[in-house]
Symmetry: C2
Subunit: 373 residues, 2 copies
């Protein structure tokens, strides 16, 4: 199981220490997403080298392929993917509403067809917990519904009540002495009243940690930042706070300022595969001709393998030539940047200098920002 | 420039030491192919880890993208691709006859259209050498024509004479005090008379090394093995002998037995990306269901990162899920296997035990060979 300790505060921002059965995680932390049992394009050796301490796995994907029972027979997800540091798994809820076909929602759970082979599947709160415990994740997430940001008020109320009932069923199905710490998920879209109600219902379950779901689902960044700034401080001070599926470097700084401890997003790896690099001097579009003869690293302030070893000119060539190495090297850098941004935030919080840190980071991005359109 | 020393002989097989400006190469050696300035799917860190000492670059591809002048301005190919060990470049001849469009052959050279953008291009013996010296390769290859195995006799004779004239022009264009040692290429298809004539013409140029071209271009493996067994011993004893574009593990053992020192082929990396793994127990088709729950490594006798770290079950999952990591891990293993097969051959030659080594390696492949069709 896990333990969590807030070590320093700077305004609402927190520096904490999360202890898991698979090692320590210093917070605030960005968690690379390893949907199908691998963070796309990088190996566990690369993740270690950039100092990743915790990665995500996706219940929905692993259930469908290769199957959680198969992973369990392999000794669990850590062993299967050769990752001996921490793993957090989502509950499958979010993917159900974005990927699955012919979805049928009921009080019991969700029936759906696999997007891979059309096979008939079912996820319930109990089954989601069973799967996550079978995977052996260090942090399991409650099974929730994540409605779109613009859903009608009546539907949001109905969904919120169901998510609370499902959270109670997750709590009942969960084995506190098992491999996984259960985190509850607060929903409520952009409505402060609903968010407050959800916090009350979910936090009443006295779980090891809590997450903010339902952000980055169609609202504007400003709405999201305001929503997180409102919601995060409502969560218990002594438990880790996880903002799900967020976001850009700017979003991360907003979240940390609001008191969020953990974040995840596919953005750094997905953008890397599209040739978009995040740097201390702004976003860099590697295919741009300006990089063709640039012998400098993607980010002169970065110490990752990519920046230590390769030039922009070479990375541009690899990307233009569609060489597989491009995706790995770009992904290593983007993940390293997200992790180092959070490591810097942690240091700043401990020194009481987070506001200045965030201001300087944002000023840095103005220097060389390229058009990404 | 290079130096070469035969350290031990076992029958016709040789163990040698090739000294290059970028380090020592123990022979016999398999050279991974880095067509576009990267060995596909792996990084220089991976190549170092498996003990690669020399890789190939392709003049044709690098000329078209990113351009040899650009690479030269970056400090040469070693620096561009962050590979400080040896590099051999081909002359572009072979690719011209397999990839280029609207090819026009004359005594002067070959005019063609780029397969990338249709642009008009020209390669001549002089230009091929200029490009390879601009890239800074440790071993440059003469510009030759490689006719198909079934070309008519009259065409083979005409082509062979032109290849000899081109080789003399390459020799004249080459700077012996420059970065690259020039290797001549012997052609002659499956005809012993033509091969003998080509050896006489090419070896008269007194070059630092010689290659056998024109194999693995449509003939049967048995024809190729017989041809190499005939041709290799005709080459000077005191120069490195390079068999171009060959081949499978069995082909490599045949070539070493004939006295070949250096080999290259896309087979291990291409097969890796198709899920075919070469092991000490035979070929393994990773998508096969039999591997779905196999916790063993691809090859229990292999010490590469892939075999030390991951199970067949995991590699099968990655491949089925089309995860990019699959291509890297499979490529690391296949290259490690090819390199270790040659390292073992070298040890055996030094101990006078190459015949037994080759017999045992072949017997090993019988154990678990899978259908690859």
């Amino acid at each position: 199981m896990i333990a969590f300790q807030v070590e320093a505060r700077d305004g609402a921002a927190r520096a904490g220490l999360l202890t898991t059965p698979h090692g320590l995680v210093e917070t605030p932390i960005f968690m690379p997403v390893g949907t199908q049992g691998t963070v796309k394009a990088v190996g566990p050796d690369d993740l270690r080298a950039i100092g990743a301490r915790i990665v995500l796995g996706n219940t929905y994907h692993l259930l469908l392929r290769p199957g959680h029972e198969l992973v369990k027979r392999r000794g669990g997800l850590h062993r299967f993917m050769a990752w001996d540091r921490a793993i957090l798994t989502d509950s499958g809820g979010f993917q159900l509403f974005s990927l699955a076909e012919r979805r049928k929602l009921s009080e019991e759970g969700v029936e759906f067809r696999s997007h891979l082979d059309g096979s008939s599947q079912k996820l319930t709160p109990e089954r989601s917990i069973e799967i996550q415990e079978a995977l052996g994740s260090d942090v399991a997430m409650a099974f929730d519904e994540c409605p779109p940001a613009d859903a009608p008020r009546a539907y949001l109320e109905e969904s919120l009540a169901r998510t609370a009932r499902w959270a109670r069923r997750c709590r009942a199905a969960w084995h506190p002495d098992g491999p996984s710490a259960l985190f509850g998920i607060v929903q409520g879209a952009m409505d402060e009243g609903l968010r407050r109600r959800s916090v009350e219902e979910i936090c009443a379950l006295d779980l090891p940690g809590y997450a903010l779901g339902g952000y980055s689902v169609g609202e504007t960044p400003a709405e999201m930042h305001a929503g997180v700034a409102f919601s995060a401080p409502l969560l218990p001070e002594d438990r880790p706070r996880y903002l799900m599926g967020v976001g850009s470097p700017d979003d991360l700084l907003h979240a940390v300022a609001a008191g969020v401890d953990m974040m995840d997003c596919v953005l750094p790896t997905r953008c890397a595969r599209n040739g978009l690099l995040f740097t201390s001097r702004g976003r860099l579009v590697i295919r741009n001709r300006v990089h063709a003869e640039d012998d400098g690293p993607p980010d002169p302030a970065c110490g990752c393998y990519t920046c230590r070893t390769f030039s922009r000119a070479y990375l541009r060539h690899l990307f233009q030539a569609k060489e597989l190495l491009a995706y790995r090297l770009n992904s290593i850098h983007n993940l390293a940047y997200f992790l180092s941004l959070m490591a810097g935030a942690r240091r700043a919080i401990r020194e009481g200098a987070f506001v200045a840190y965030a201001r300087e980071a944002r000023a840095g991005w103005e220097q060389d920002e390229e058009e990404t359109g």
